[in-house]
Every structure is written in structure tokens, then in C-alpha cells.
């Protein structure tokens, strides 16, 4: 911090307006990280594995929607993109994971990394290296909604709003529907769930479908702001994982809080460090948490003792 304060003109810049802009940017990114983290959590709860290809779902959602938008209106393109991502998620589970008999963690890590590379390279050959984006949902990139001194792009509201609805629906799904309860039973005790007549294999497929779907939707709403490229998934995956760890792996409510914390920290780090090091900040946070408190800030240490770190 000392280095930051000695920089000339910093105090001038440190006004409320800029502060709030950084805050809004941090919240936007933080929401997306939280969504990716929830995607990690859904699959982790169902299977006990971390899907390293989680970021690719976000990228696929954005990319497919951009392509489809040429031939159909925006809402239809997004819907179709989310559905396609869900199908891809289901296919991945059925082809690569379903038939493995108690695979080791190392094996699962390497398989999901392989899948992530495969999707990324396929995207590179389909869409090329160019950076794409959906148009802004309302207005254009210069449209702003002013609340006092704070200027917000309507897209930011779309991102946070969609994410909030998504989280609410997921909560409803897991708490009140039979299917959601079955998935939770599966996460709590797989053998007991199977004894109750729940098809655990189908629940795992469903978890891939769900997390692919929410990842793809997040990719669609955020693409006007952050843009999307064939390799934008990896960065999102690492940050989503950071958030999932920060909140305690498997805990989706805490992941939202953790996502916002990370987004804001990252956005304010630009004050101290060059923008190129923005990712370095969030990954350093990941390493720090892993070293000091792998159960996460919001996670319970006792529960984490039972997991494999």
C-alpha cells in the first residue's frame, strides 16, 4: 500500500465516483466468478470431482450464442446456446465419466483437463482466435443508468439480475423439487441414496447438465462486457475455483459472498498493480487460501477434515 500512496495524483483519483465504478466492476466480475463456482460446486457435490472444464462451458455459451445471433433473435439465440451447452455437458458425462468404476482423483483431474483442452481447441478451429461479443441487451455500450454519481451500464444489471434469478431458481430446485432433493441426497450419501431407489448415475449426469447450463447462461449475459474468446474459459475456471475454495468447496451460498469479495479485491488491485497483474492477484489469493485455510473462509474446519485435501 505504501507504494500506492506515494504514486502522484492518487489522492485525486481516489474519489467517490471512481471508487463506486471500481465497486460496480468488481461486483459484475464477482457475480460471474460466483456462478462458475456454483457450477463447480454442483458437480463436486454430486461426484466429488472438480470439473476442470467448467470455464469452457462459460466460453461455449458465449460463443454459440454469438454465432446463433446471426440467424435468430437474441433471446432465442441465448436459449438455444444454453440448451446446446447442456447437451454438451450431458454428452461429456455420458461419454467420459459415467462408465468409470471408482476412478482415482488423479485420473479424474487429468481427464477433465483433457476435456477442457479438447473443447478449447475445437472452439479454436470452429471460431478462430477472434474476440467476439453479443450486443448489449438494452441500449448500446454507451448507454448508462445514473444513480447519483454512479454510472452503471444496463448490462451490469442484466448480469447481476440474471445471476440472482439463477441462484434463486437453483435454491428452489434443490430445496423444493423432488429431483433437487434426490440430487442433495446423492451428495450427502451416495450409497444411502441408491438404497432409496435414486439413480445416482443419472443424478451425476444431471449435475453436469445443470452446471453446463448455468455456466453457458453466465457466458451469454457477460459477453457484451468481457467479450469471449476460445481460451477465455481457463482464466474463469481458476477464478471460479478460487471462489469455490474461498467459500468452502460445495457451499454455494458462501460462494456468492466469496465471488463478490474476489471480484472487488481484483478490481481494486488495479490501483496498486498494473492491469496485466490482475489475474496474478486473484491466483495469489487462491494459493494463500490453499496454504493457510483450505477449508475456506466461510467453510467449517471440522467438515473439511473429512475431505481429501
Amino acid at each position: 500500500m505504501a507504494g500506492a500512496l506515494s504514486r502522484p495524483g492518487l489522492l485525486y483519483h481516489m474519489n467517490i465516483e471512481l471508487l463506486s465504478q471500481y465497486l460496480v466492476a468488481g461486483l459484475t466480475y464477482g457475480t460471474i466468478y460466483a456462478i462458475v463456482a456454483i457450477g463447480f460446486n454442483i458437480i463436486y457435490n454430486a461426484t466429488g470431482i472438480i470439473n476442470f472444464a467448467q470455464g469452457e462451458f462459460v466460453m461455449l455459451g458465449g460463443m454459440i450464442a454469438v454465432s446463433l445471433h446471426h440467424i435468430m433473435p437474441l433471446p432465442a439465440a441465448i436459449l438455444a446456446a444454453v440448451l446446446m451447452a447442456m447437451i454438451i455437458g450431458a454428452l461429456i458425462e455420458i461419454i467420459f465419466i459415467r462408465w468409470l468404476v471408482s476412478p482415482s482423483v488423479l485420473r479424474m483431474i487429468i481427464i477433465t483437463i483433457g476435456i477442457s483442452i479438447f473443447i478449447r481447441e475445437a472452439a479454436l478451429h470452429i471460431w478462430g482466435e477472434s474476440v467476439r461479443a453479443l450486443p448489449y441487451f438494452t441500449g448500446t455500450e454507451v448507454t448508462v443508468i445514473s444513480i447519483g454519481d454512479v454510472h452503471i451500464s444496463p448490462q451490469v444489471l442484466w448480469v447481476t439480475g440474471t445471476s440472482a434469478v439463477m441462484v434463486a431458481l437453483l435454491t428452489f430446485f434443490f430445496s423444493y423439487t423432488l429431483l433437487g432433493k434426490q440430487m442433495r441426497a446423492c451428495a450427502a450419501n451416495r450409497d444411502a441414496a441408491r438404497l432409496c431407489g435414486i439413480s445416482t448415475a443419472n443424478m451425476v449426469t444431471l449435475s453436469f447438465v445443470l452446471s453446463a447450463g448455468i455456466g453457458a447462461l453466465a457466458g451469454c449475459v457477460v459477453s457484451p462486457i468481457t467479450y469471449v474468446q476460445y481460451d477465455s474459459g481457463t482464466g474463469l475456471a481458476i477464478k471460479g475455483f478460487t471462489v469455490a475454495i474461498l467459500g468452502g468447496l460445495g457451499n454455494s451460498t458462501a460462494a456468492i459472498a466469496a465471488g463478490l469479495v474476489l471480484g472487488i479485491l481484483e478490481s481494486f488491485s488495479v490501483w496498486v498493480l498494473p492491469t496485466a497483474f490482475k489475474d496474478v492477484v486473484s491466483i495469489s489469493i487462491l494459493l494463500l487460501i490453499l496454504f493457510v485455510r483450505p477449508s475456506g473462509i466461510f467453510g467449517s474446519v471440522e467438515a473439511s477434515r473429512l475431505k481429501e485435501f
Binding site: F96, I109, I110, G114, I117, F277, F309
Partner: protein
């Protein structure tokens, strides 16, 4: 027993010479360039094979160590110290012969560190970073270990990509050759191509000798016990933490040395050497080779790196490694080259022979 351990090493030395003679006979000397580069990548792979296969710890950040070695050496041997000549530290360096006067592209004199000093510094930096990172990282297991090492690799990548004196996206170029001894120089000049081929593979041979001896020593037995049951190894009085850390550092040094020499050989290094894809590629090769199988990892590394460097995979380079990774882990998680395969093939052949014999 001892003799049988050196048979593969001798065969390896023999095939190194045979390959060189073959390229000379078939007039394909241009292959030597890629073969030399493959040699330096093989250093990374055999080091990583020790860590993944024998100590049982995955690392998705070894390209980071490769880049640390390469960049440290590249930076020290190109950074012009001439403007700082007057400073006391620099003048001490200059007097002890640790600095070199080289001519840059435009004929101007530049004062840079001796490659030997740069190499030692690069290895020292790597050892330091590996110890600092390795301590806490190796306490983690499974996904956490994978993500932590992936995070480390990403940090190195982002740092070299975002730092202007490391050349940012362009990397560093015009790295001078590395004169190991008078008349023995690591550099990409065509006139000393054969010499460089032997330097590179000589180093791999030395590395293999060192590692095969290590595997067959007390250390190797300790490592295998860690791999199969860490708690049991601990109970037997093996300091598992220390062994894991030392192997981590050893494999980091192998990677860094590969980075140092390849950088001098190519005359440059770019941020792509630090990318996650490179780390994953190293892991893929170790996995195909059969994890705890140094010779398997080495031979797979030679084949795949050579094909990749010759451009046989075209624009599907990364995809090929991704697909190989998936296929191996799905269908042969023990790797392609493992003893059981040979044993199984033998049994199958002899079984068929017997069956035919009975019929007759």
C-alpha cells in the same frame, strides 16, 4: 543386478549415436535441430516423471519452472550492464571475469553476465522458488494440489507476459550462445549442429543415469512407499514431507536446466513456454509413458516432442495432446508402456501357441 541397471543406459547411449549416424547417412541433418530441442524438453519430462510417477505428486506448473530457468538466464545474458559499469558491485563482477563483452546486432559493445554465472543464478532462483512454493503446496492433495500448481504456473505465465523487461508478449531474443568449455558451445549455429545434438543428449543421458540410480537407492524405495501408501510410509519412519519436497525441487531444477539450455540453443524464449498448455503437455507425456516409468516417459517424450516440433500435428498440436490425455486416462490409466502390457502380450502369444499345439 547392478549390471542390468546399466544395460538400458548403455542402449540409450548407443541409440543416441545411431540416430546421429542415421541422419548423416540419410542426409537429413536438419532433423538434428528438432532432436536437440527434444533433448532439452526430455530433461523436463524425466524430472517430472520422478515427481508424478515416483513421488506421486502431480504438478501442472512445470512449464513455470522451465520458464523461470530460461528467462533468468536469458535476462542475465542480454541485460546490458555497460551503463552501470562504475557501480562497485558491477566492477567487482567485471574484475573477476564473471562478465562478458559481447557485440550486439548493431555492432555496439554490451556488457553482460557470463552464461555460466547466469545458469547458476537461474538454477539457484529455481531452487529457492521451488522450496518456497513446494513447502506449502505439497501439503495439499488431489484437486487442491493440481489447482495450486496450476495457479503457480499461471502466475509465472502472467508475470512474464505482463513485465516489460521480460519482453512482454514478444519474449526475449538475441540470447548469446553458452560456451560450456572452449570449443563446446550451446547455440543454434548450423556449423555446430552435431556438437549441440551430443551436448543435449549427453545431458539427458547424465540425467537418466542420475535418476535411475536414485530410483534404485534408499530414496527411490522411500518414494515408492510414499506413492503406494503415504500414511504407512510415515509410520515406517520415512519423512514423507521432506522426500516429496526434495523431489519437487529436483524436478524443478531439471525443468529449469532444460529451460536454460533450450533458451541458449534457440537464442530466445517467449511467454508461450510458460503457458499452461506446456505444463499439461509434460504431464500428458509422463502419463502416456506409464507414470512411474522413466524409460517410458523418455521414449514417449522423444517421439511426441519430435513429431510436434517437426510440425506433424499442424494446427492440431494442442488438441492432439488433449485427446491423448483423455484416451490414456480412460482406457489405460497405467500408461501405454508398462510391464503388464509386455507380460500380457507374452502370455497371450504363448497361450495361443499352446492352444494351437493342442489342436495339432
Amino acid at each position: 543386478m547392478v549390471r542390468s541397471r546399466y544395460i538400458p543406459v548403455a542402449l540409450f547411449a548407443f541409440s543416441i549415436i545411431a540416430v546421429q549416424l542415421l541422419t548423416a547417412l540419410t542426409d537429413r541433418a536438419q532433423f538434428l535441430t528438432q532432436l536437440t530441442m527434444t533433448g532439452y524438453y526430455s530433461l523436463v519430462i524425466i524430472g517430472l516423471c520422478m515427481l508424478i510417477g515416483y513421488a506421486g505428486q502431480i504438478s501442472l506448473g512445470h512449464a513455470g519452472f522451465f520458464a523461470i530457468g530460461g528467462y533468468a538466464s536469458a535476462f542475465l545474458t542480454t541485460y546490458n550492464l555497460a551503463p552501470h559499469k562504475e557501480k562497485p558491485v558491477i566492477s567487482i563482477f567485471a574484475k573477476t571475469g564473471l562478465l562478458l563483452n559481447v557485440q550486439d546486432l548493431y555492432g555496439g559493445d554490451t556488457l553482460v553476465f557470463n552464461p555460466w554465472l547466469a545458469c547458476i543464478a537461474a538454477v539457484a532462483v529455481t531452487v529457492l522458488i521451488a522450496y518456497v512454493i513446494g513447502g506449502p503446496v505439497l501439503k495439499l492433495k488431489g484437486h487442491y494440489l493440481a489447482m495450486a500448481t496450476l495457479g503457480f504456473g499461471t502466475i509465472v505465465y502472467k508475470v512474464v507476459l505482463g513485465t516489460s523487461f521480460f519482453g512482454a508478449a514478444d519474449g526475449l531474443s538475441d540470447i548469446p550462445g553458452f560456451r560450456l568449455l572452449p570449443g563446446l558451445e550451446v547455440s543454434g549455429k548450423t556449423s555446430i549442429r552435431i556438437q549441440n545434438y551430443y551436448i543435449s543428449w549427453g545431458m539427458v543421458l547424465l540425467g537418466m543415469l542420475l535418476l535411475t540410480n536414485l530410483i534404485n537407492s534408499r530414496v527411490g524405495r522411500a518414494l515408492r512407499s510414499i506413492h503406494s501408501a503415504e500414511d504407512a510410509a510415515n509410520a515406517m519412519g520415512i519423512n514423507t514431507g521432506r522426500y516429496k519436497l526434495n523431489i519437487f525441487v529436483l524436478s524443478a531444477v531439471f525443468a529449469a536446466l532444460g529451460g536454460v539450455f533450450l533458451t541458449h540453443y534457440n537464442g530466445g524464449i517467449g511467454p508461450s513456454e510458460a503457458s499452461i498448455m506446456k505444463s499439461v503437455r509434460y504431464v500428458a507425456i509422463v502419463a502416456i509413458g506409464g507414470m512411474a516409468n522413466l524409460w517410458g516417459a523418455l521414449s514417449m517424450g522423444i517421439i511426441l516432442n519430435f513429431l510436434s516440433l517437426r510440425g506433424y500435428f499442424g494446427s492440431y498440436d494442442d488438441a492432439v495432446f488433449g485427446v491423448i490425455l483423455i484416451l490414456i486416462m480412460l482406457f489405460a490409466p497405467e500408461g501405454l508402456l508398462r510391464r503388464e502390457v509386455f507380460r500380457g502380450a507374452k502370455k497371450w502369444l504363448s497361450g495361443r501357441g499352446k492352444a494351437e499345439g493342442q489342436k495339432a
